[in-house]
């Protein structure tokens, strides 16, 4: 009886591991895996060029910003470029760029 119970417990753990592995393989990240957190902020990057200012695609922003000589912290944003021409990224955009491997120094 004891052996049967032990095997049942082991099998239950294995079953859970199996389900998690399958969901990981299928790239389903349920809340219980710890990969999910609520974050309503959007990645944002603003390009300023003299009087011109526009929200630009974060992907292209990463590439352009990573080519800049330096980036400075300005309040909660990172600003890359000069005073007259720069890219201003919020923290989520900075994280996105770093995840993709674009280092913003």
């Amino acid at each position: 009886m004891e052996i049967k119970r032990t095997l049942k417990i082991i099998n239950s753990f294995l079953l859970v591991a199996f389900v998690l592995s399958v969901s990981n393989f299928l790239q389903i990240n349920p809340e219980i895996t710890g990969n999910f957190y609520k974050d309503n902020e959007e990645a944002s990057c603003t390009f300023k060029n003299g009087d011109f200012s526009n929200e630009v695609p974060v992907d292209r922003c990463c590439l352009q910003a990573s080519q800049k000589q330096s980036c400075n912290k300005n309040n909660d944003r990172k600003v890359c470029g000069t005073e007259t021409q720069n890219l201003s990224l919020n923290q989520k955009a900075v994280n996105y760029c770093n995840e993709r491997g674009f280092s913003l120094e």
């Binding site: 052996i3 393989f25 000589q69 993709r100």
Partner: protein, 380 residues
């Protein structure tokens, strides 16, 4: 206390074995099929390559697959100096604080190498790497072809002076609603004329040009960073690219967008689509096909495995812009491509052809054996 029957034990043992093996199997399958960098893995050396420095000729047959692949990858200028015996295919310039700094950086990476890397830059007159010490007129400010020619010459002179080989410019998309400064103003005919004049200006100073981002409509629309971007291409979107090819542009850069209409990439991003390569080559273009930065979400979201992304990129492009990760990442990509060819997942002719074109663009004549004949492809 009842005894566990032999059958029950057998069933439990079977389930346990099945679960362990399937879990392990799934874990293995979910791993990236990309070679992980080993401690001793790095860029290949020049060893064994037959190089004639006098007539600037290199024998493609004397190169290993790994060496050929290395010549086709462009990275950012590396933070640390790379051993002079290692092959650095290409180096893309980050911003610098002065002209002198640019020159020093380039010299540090080129001098002493039997075949120096191809040096590239993004000098478009807008968001340029020189912005902290020098501004150039943006394309938006160019009113006519003469001005486009002049800005081409001015930029060409600067780039030539610091040691750049190829400029990833001009953008010949018809509109730029994102940056507002990267495209020429006017209809497709005016954009084509200005682009040709600009290319001529660069060429006069010995700088190679790149028409981007094929097949157009890259700098419009909403932010696609979390999903693939789809565009419909019209004949007039292609006009400036065809015009640039007729004006002897040296390279064409396809975009990460999925296109329909006149260029139907069949659901794949343009820079990993055979349709793109075939269309560009069918137009008689024999120059370089250069990928856009390959870490952008526009292409990474399309693939689950890096290996497949690399293979498709090598099937479509001659020069691969791997602008993240440094030496280790480049070495890893080279190893992945090497394995893909060895395993029959990528035809070697793609690597051979790309290496030959890149070396030609870098100013080297390339000796190639085709059947029983030996042919020399001349530098340009």
């Amino acid at each position: 206390m009842k005894e566990v029957s032999a059958l029950n034990k057998y069933i439990h043992a079977l389930i346990t074995v099945l679960l362990i093996s399937s879990t392990a199997g799934l874990h293995y399958m979910s791993q990236e099929e990309v070679q992980r960098p080993q401690a001793n893995e790095s860029l290949p050396t020049f060893e064994g390559i037959q190089i004639n420095q006098e007539n600037k000729t290199v024998d493609l047959e004397s190169m290993t697959l790994r060496q050929k692949t290395a010549f086709t990858v462009v990275s950012f200028n590396y933070e640390k100096e790379i051993n002079k015996n290692k092959i650095v295919g290409g180096m893309h310039l980050r911003s610098a604080g002065s002209k002198r700094e640019f020159k020093e950086r380039i010299e540090n990476n080129t001098e002493g190498r039997p075949i120096p890397p191809l040096i590239s830059a993004d000098l478009e007159g807008c968001i340029e790497p020189t912005s902290s010490f020098r501004d150039f007129k943006s394309f938006k400010q160019v009113n006519n072809s003469q001005q486009a020619y002049e800005i081409g010459k001015t930029q060409g002179e600067f780039l030539s002076d610091i040691g750049v080989d190829i400029n990833f410019s001009p953008v010949v998309d018809l509109n730029d609603s994102i940056w507002g400064c990267r495209t020429f103003e006017g209809n497709y005919s005016e954009v084509s004329e200005k682009a040709c004049s600009y290319i001529k200006g660069l060429d006069e100073k010995g700088i190679k040009s790149t028409a981007k981002h094929y097949p157009g409509k890259t700098l419009t629309g909403k932010d696609p960073h979390e999903e693939m971007k789809h565009v419909e291409i019209r004949e007039k979107d292609l006009a400036a690219f065809h015009s640039a090819m007729n004006c002897s542009v040296d390279a064409v850069m396809p975009s990460h967008q999925i296109s329909t209409g006149k260029i139907d990439t069949q659901g794949a991003p343009a820079d990993v689509s055979n349709v793109t390569r075939n269309h560009i080559r069918e137009n008689g273009f024999e120059g370089l096909i250069v990928s856009d930065a390959i870490s952008m979400g526009g292409i990474t979201h399309y693939y689950k495995k890096d290996r497949n992304r690399y293979i498709d990129l090598f099937q479509t492009n001659d020069l691969i812009l791997n602008l993240v990760g440094g030496v280790n990442d480049t070495a890893r990509m080279i190893t992945t491509i090497e394995k893909a060819v060895e395993n029959g997942n990528l035809e070697q002719r793609f690597v051979d052809d790309s290496a030959r074109r890149v070396l030609n663009a870098r100013g080297w004549n390339v000796k190639v054996r085709e059947g029983n004949e030996t042919k020399i492809y001349e530098a340009y």
